[in-house]
């Protein structure tokens, strides 16, 4: 929690609405897809605590990666073209190292299921696949409001 020291109040520093909106969308989809994956593995009869822990690790890393990417992009947009390029490349390299560490931990430690860690990393991609559908419906609602 970020405290506003100048005012001496507990006002929370506002998160950018774009980051909030997109991260919420990705988080909801990641949770839904995680539940589906858990269900499928359970019905296959191969469910154990490693599957759940692996899913939690991979899902959390995927959402964190997306959130950090949003923050990086929004910070880069404020800069000039060349600085933005450099900043995004640096941000991507660091996030790649983070994902590499998460995947290596998931693969190396026996109490994580390697496959669920790796599959969970792709959930944001699946969420983005469906993004145009929801975005399109939002745009349609807005345009209908304008016409009225």
């Amino acid at each position: 929690m970020f405290l506003d020291k100048r005012k001496g109040t507990n006002s929370v520093k506002a998160v950018n609405p774009v980051i909030k909106k997109e991260t919420t969308y990705i988080s909801i989809w990641t949770m839904a897809l995680s539940l589906i994956m858990q269900g499928v593995i359970f019905f296959m009869g191969k469910w154990n605590s490693g599957v759940l822990l692996g899913n939690l690790l991979g899902g959390a890393a995927a959402v964190l990666n997306f959130c950090l990417m949003c923050k990086g992009i929004l910070a880069a947009v404020e800069k000039d073209e060349q600085d933005a390029k450099t900043m995004i490349r640096m941000s991507r390299t660091l996030r790649m190292f983070m994902l590499l560490a998460v995947a290596a931990i998931g693969a190396a430690l026996s109490f994580f299921n390697t496959w669920t860690v790796l599959i969970s990393l792709f959930f944001p991609r699946i969420a983005i696949f469906f993004w145009p559908l929801f975005n399109k419906s939002e745009q349609n609602v807005k345009s209908e409001d304008k016409h009225e």
């Binding site: 997109e22 992009i73 947009v77 933005a84 995004i88 790649m96 590499l100 290596a104």
Partner: protein
């Protein structure tokens, strides 16, 4: 002879993982260019900042998946493939 075969398997897996990670370079360059162009677009039309940013975030996330595929292949080559290969070798012997 057996040790040599295992050494070759491990070496090839490590080499394969390294080659797979070359695919991680492309998305970095692509994302950088996309954001640079978005800066240009926002500079031209500041009122469209929200729409441009939102679309660009999703575009960057898609571009990043390519790097993620490479990462997954590399991790599988390092942690999973050697075990399978050694099992195959042992069963062949």
């Amino acid at each position: 002879m057996f040790e040599l075969a295992i050494g070759i398997i491990l070496g090839c897996c490590a080499l394969g993982a390294g080659i797979a990670m070359i695919a991680g370079i492309g998305p970095g360059i692509g994302e950088g260019n996309a954001v640079a162009k978005a800066c240009e677009a926002i500079g031209r039309q500041p009122e469209s900042k929200s729409a441009v940013t939102s679309t660009m975030i999703m575009g960057c996330a898609i571009a990043e998946t390519t790097g993620l595929y490479a990462l997954v292949v590399a991790i599988l080559l390092i942690f999973v493939a050697p075990g399978i290969m050694v099992d195959v070798l042992l069963s062949a012997i």
